[in-house]
């Protein structure tokens, strides 16, 4: 009995550093931000004024906020569709036991290792209106009328940032799908071959169902990343031109650290947190149920 208590105590000691530091530097700031969202504060003065829901009222009446919310919705649709679809396509192409498949995997995955800031830098240059690669190519192949200032144009800037993001993030879906494909029991595919199934039939009946666990992970991560996307937008457009590429994360930063309106910034952060929770809680619940299985 004494031994058992001693063990418990040792294990508790191991948990002290992670749990305490996480509580102080993560949990407490979250609660404090929620609290701040009900106050008016410039970030410097010792005075904070309680304003109730005023910050939220101001926020929901704010044009930039509406644009940011719409853009996050667009990012969500984009992230759930394009990187996973392209990642799956590339994984299917690679997974054919061909010579050089490692090399292709390396090439497709490489952008994912790069900092989003450098991604923004190179895409700013690719999008450069006069000498940038994209407009130059369009002109060369006789499509000069399609050339435009991609990130300088209000109606397409967000999609231009997404294209840069697609190049950057597809590698993540690719790697997850590739590992999923390699975990499909070969007997299943052989059995389908013996039954004379063509590729599309195999794809629908065997591959897609077998890839369900990978798909759940890919989609959950993509959804969260779509809500908290910040780096690439901040570095490429700073939310501009105007508010055209603004999302909640960049807006929060702008309100808080450029305009020192900490209450309004916190309100944006709270909205972001609530949206993330709505999307991710079912997934965490689903995962933690699976954990019991791993443990036992």
């Amino acid at each position: 009995m004494k031994l058992e208590t001693e063990r418990k105590l040792t294990f508790a000691l191991f948990l002290v550093i992670p749990v305490v530091s996480f509580s102080v530097f993560v949990i407490y700031p979250i609660i404090r931000s929620i609290w701040l969202s009900f106050h008016r504060w410039d970030g410097i003065s010792p005075v904070m004024t309680y304003v109730g829901l005023r910050n939220y009222q101001r926020l929901f009446a704010n044009t930039a906020f509406k644009i940011a919310l719409t853009n996050n919705a667009k990012w969500l649709v984009f992230s759930l569709l394009l990187p996973p679809a392209l990642g799956l396509l590339l994984a299917l192409l690679i997974d054919n036991k061909l010579k050089g498949e490692r090399l292709f995997q390396t090439i497709y995955f490489l952008p994912y290792t790069i900092t989003p800031v450098a991604v923004a830098a190179v895409w700013r240059w690719l999008y450069e209106p006069r000498n940038g690669l994209i407009n130059q190519l369009l002109t060369r192949i006789g499509l000069g009328h399609l050339a435009r200032p991609w990130i300088g144009n209000v109606s397409i800037a967000t999609y231009a940032v997404m294209a840069a993001s697609l190049w950057w993030t597809t590698g993540f879906s690719l790697v997850l799908y590739l590992s999923g494909l390699r975990n499909i029991p070969p007997e299943l595919l052989e059995a389908a071959d013996i039954d004379g199934a063509n590729f599309l039939q195999k794809f629908r009946r065997v591959i897609i169902p077998q890839l369900l666990p990978s798909t759940i992970v890919v989609l959950a991560m993509s959804a969260v990343d779509a809500l908290r996307v910040f780096d690439i937008i901040y570095a490429l457009t700073r939310g501009g031109p105007g508010y055209a590429t603004e999302v909640l994360a960049t807006l929060m930063f702008d309100f808080s650290f450029n305009r020192f309106d900490m209450g309004l910034g916190s309100a944006v952060a709270v909205v972001l947190l609530v949206l993330s929770a709505i999307i991710i809680l079912p997934y965490i619940y689903h995962t933690s149920k699976g954990l019991e299985g791993i443990r036992n």
């Binding site: 550093i17 992670p18 931000s33 192409l93 292709f104 690719l126 992970v217 780096d231 933690s288």
Partner: protein, 272 residues
């Protein structure tokens, strides 16, 4: 031509096409970084030589940031992995009241949008006099690395047979002794993957660097580079040279340790 052969030609063609598209931005980055200003008007042409001025200018802009990033990333990677191991050990070996709760709590941390902590974190760091300091960033990257490190290592530790713990305890090893003398050395492959994963995450961080540093002697390279990208009049030769240098460390690590990197990524993405 047989069907199988046609299929392979088609697949290769598609693979090569996508590879070319994926390599274009990197290729443009490298070639532009070698070009002199007059050459920039023709992005499709190869560089005539190696225009050193770009790299000299790049170093002026991001050289110090590179050093700072190195000073931030190296210790932070090891501290965060170790702290993650501290949490992962009990969670992987032992059932106790509320273990699920602790675990869910940490897991939720994987998905928190960091915007929700920025303002109070900024205040806390100021009060602790860690604002605008490199140790401050070690602390922040360690704490915000706890979810992924704990999660990843818990899964890794769970693959080590529990009978080993029991046998060691019977042999008179203590709980802490097992952790330091047996579990940690046995987990080297796990740590290798995690350290690479964390190195990428910390080197590439922009948000914490942007909010928690101010002076040139602490700002990480991502912050310096993002200020440069944001300028209205940019010399693209300089910008591409700076970008190239900023991605060099992570790219080299990836190319050398690709297998570990991908294993880390797979272990760190939550599969049920």
């Amino acid at each position: 031509m047989t069907r199988a052969k046609r299929k392979y030609i088609f697949i290769y063609a598609a693979l090569i096409f996508f590879a070319a598209v994926f390599l274009v931005p990197i290729g443009v980055m490298i070639s532009t970084s070698m070009k002199s200003p007059p050459e920039l008007v023709n992005v499709l042409a190869l560089p005539k030589g190696f225009y050193r001025e770009n790299h000299r200018a790049a170093f002026e802009i991001i050289g110090r940031g590179m050093l700072n990033s190195l000073l931030i990333t190296l210790p932070a990677v090891f501290i965060s992995s170790f702290v993650g191991a501290l949490g992962a050990y009990p969670l992987s070996q032992f059932r106790f009241k509320g273990d699920q709760l602790v675990y869910m709590f940490l897991l939720a941390g994987l998905f928190v949008p960091f915007q929700i902590v920025l303002i109070p974190l900024f205040q806390i760091m100021r009060e602790l006099r860690l604002y605008d300091s490199i140790p401050g960033l070690w602390l922040v990257h360690t704490v915000y690395g706890i979810p992924i490190c704990t999660f990843y290592l818990r899964n890794f530790f769970a693959t080590i047979p529990k009978s080993l713990l029991e046998a060691s305890l019977i042999d008179g090893c203590s709980i802490a002794g097992y952790f330091f003398r047996i579990l940690l050395p046995l987990s080297k492959p796990g740590f290798a993957a995690l350290i690479i994963l964390q190195a990428r995450a910390i080197w590439n961080d922009l948000l914490f660097g942007l909010t928690l540093t101010r002076s040139a002697t602490t700002r990480p390279v991502t912050v310096e580079l993002s200020a440069f990208v944001g300028m209205t009049d940019v010399q693209y030769g300089h910008l591409m040279a700076a970008s190239l240098w900023s991605i060099l460390p992570t790219t080299i690590i990836f190319l050398v340790f690709q297998k570990h990197f991908i294993r880390g990524l797979l272990g760190g993405s939550i599969k049920s």
